[in-house]
């Protein structure tokens, strides 16, 4: 005869409410872990998805995610010349925040190396990949954009032709993909007024020095397009993504690139992941501490509940002792209730979480391994929580039945 279950059946309402309360707490504990897993996933997603073997970035920066990195796009061709390089694609990434149909729209824009890369490696939720060199866009479905939406960015509008899923930047923003040329247009878009002001300022600067007077034709250049001025003319990207020819060692190719050009740094895919994870290390610790606090709170609440459940039964426990029940009978009664509370709370937490977490603005990833770890923690906590009640129960004098 299982006394724990018989008692729970007798006090079902209270037990269910308690379990629900515990499960909400455990759901938050689980969610905290899930948020961290989500951060890791989002942080490393792009690196994994792009699948580049090497990341060539501006010298001594930890770009392009952890830090800004600017390198000339022409570096692509230099890198292509290195033996063992299969492909070198420009990578450009910048986050914009605009207003679209009255709602704020935040997008992290990635340039795809048209025509090699049209988005075919991305997880497509609906629609298609990019089909032409300009004015088409893939957006993540978390941006709430729809296929056919025309987003005005800079001087052009871009039509959403496909939606991806789970493509969020390390900062959690929805990603959007344009061809690299379009992405550069968006990144370096400057309003007409700003261009006019800048050109006027250039003419002014020129005329304030000798050169402006000696070489008047230079003023024409200064008042023209920026690309017409050789010193400013190169277009910049954030990084160059390198795929290595099969049979070549990426590390060897990387050291070759670095030894060739002193103006770049190179990271392997692993190195890039590590940089990104280091960026969220503090978040991990922050969330971890909150989890510990929440587990402590759950433990204390469980202990108090189990204690009051035990107090309610003190007379019955005295009677059990008087009848000669072994301590193990009494121990099992309390501890089994504690464990049921913990386990049922955990199961409910998991079910609630699976239902609720998808509505959270950022990804919450529940991993099997984390769950098993939590099961073990909850079992230990529930045993500890029952100790208070057990201590009380073991001190009860069977003679109290008579009073």
């Amino acid at each position: 005869m299982n006394l724990a279950i018989k008692d729970i059946r007798h006090n079902l309402g209270r037990f269910v409410l308690t379990t629900l309360g515990i499960s909400l707490l455990l759901m938050v504990v689980m969610g905290m872990g899930g948020i961290y897993r989500g951060l890791v996933e989002e942080a490393t997603l792009l690196v994994d998805c792009l699948g580049a073997d090497l990341w060539v970035v501006q010298k001594d920066t930890r770009g392009p995610f952890a830090e800004l990195s600017h390198i000339p796009r022409k570096l692509e061709y230099r890198v292509m010349a290195v033996p063992g390089v299969k492909s070198a694609d420009s990578f450009i990434s910048n986050t914009i925040q605009r207003e679209y149909r009255g709602n704020p729209l935040r997008l992290t824009i990635q340039g795809l190396s048209w025509p090699n890369d049209r988005g075919q490696t991305l997880p497509i939720y609906s629609g298609r990949i990019i089909g032409q060199a300009h004015y088409e866009m893939l957006a993540d479905k978390s941006s709430k954009l729809k296929i056919g939406d025309k987003i005005p960015l800079g001087k052009n509008s871009y039509t959403v032709v496909g939606l991806t899923y789970h493509m969020n930047s390390p900062a959690g923003d929805s990603m959007a993909f344009l061809t690299i040329a379009d992405a550069q247009d968006v990144q370096f878009d400057i309003s007409g007024e700003a261009i006019r002001t800048e050109r006027a300022a250039r003419i002014n600067r020129l005329q304030s020095i000798d050169l402006g007077h000696i070489q008047p034709q230079m003023a024409d250049r200064a008042g023209g397009m920026a690309s017409g001025i050789p010193a400013l003319g190169t277009s910049m990207v954030s990084a160059i993504l390198v795929h290595v020819e099969p049979g070549y060692d990426p590390a060897a190719v990387a050291s070759k690139i670095v030894s060739c050009w002193p103006d770049v740094s190179v990271y392997s895919r692993e190195g890039q992941r590590e940089l990104l994870l280091r960026g969220i290390e503090r978040n991990r610790r922050q969330l971890g501490l909150f989890r510990i606090l929440l587990i402590l709170v759950s433990g204390i609440i469980m202990a108090l509940i189990l204690y009051t459940l035990t107090l309610d039964k003190l007379h019955d426990i005295a009677m059990l002792k008087l009848m000669g029940a072994r301590n193990t009978v009494i121990l099992a009664l309390i501890m089994q209730q504690a464990q049921l509370l913990g386990i049922l709370g955990l199961i409910t937490a998991r079910l609630l979480g699976e239902w609720i977490f998808p509505y959270f603005p950022r990804r919450v990833v529940l991993l099997q391994g984390d769950l098993i770890q939590l099961v073990l923690i909850v079992l230990v906590v529930s045993v500890l929580a029952s100790l208070l009640g057990i201590a009380k129960a073991l001190r009860v004098d069977p003679g109290e039945v008579l009073s």
Partner: protein, 243 residues
Amino acid sequence: MNGISNSIVEASGLTKRYGSGNTEVMALREVSLNVVQGEVVALLGPSGAGKTTLLTVLGLIRPPDAGKIVIDGTVVFDGCLMVDARKYRRIHLGFVFQKANLIPFLTAAENVQLAMEINDASPHAARRRAMELLDYLGVSDRADYLPAKLSGGQQQRVAVARALANRPSLILADEPTAALDSVRGRQVMELFRNVAHEQRTGVIVVTHDHRALDVFDRALEMEDGMLRTSQSLNEEIRHKKNK
């Protein structure tokens, strides 16, 4: 009756005091008693005389300060406990109190079963005997009811069934019929007598009810922690029995 040699309880020199200093109470003073197999003994006396204390001492619930207790040939107390009290209670003793003290979350049958299961009986055998006992006590139709759904008398009869479950050699009952009307009360007392006579069990019942005295074989009287055989009460018993 088989005679004095078949003692169920032989106690001598039992002393019990509660508290200390100014608040010290001598609840038992050098109490000695002897109950033989199959004997049903009534224990009477004014409130505070020490009747309940004597039962808790004999039941190894609260050991005495001094004295010797032999139950069914086993020395259970001689200056100190000689046996594992809880194990001894489980196997050899049965208790009934003024209140039934049933476990509220177990049904009538389960309450009786539990007494046997904590004594290592198989659930199946325990269930069968529980039903037999409830039948014997006339409450088998309430076997699957929770105590809260039973009347006071029904609860008390379940409590008696529970006390009998492990076929104890000694039953200790403290005012078991106080909550019952006189007819029901008498039924319970008669039940004890039948069990005692059929199973050679010793029964000590604390009671205030003189009307059911004829059910008992003998009456003892307590006063201020001392026990004595009351001539007048035994006279009363003989008188009633002969009626």
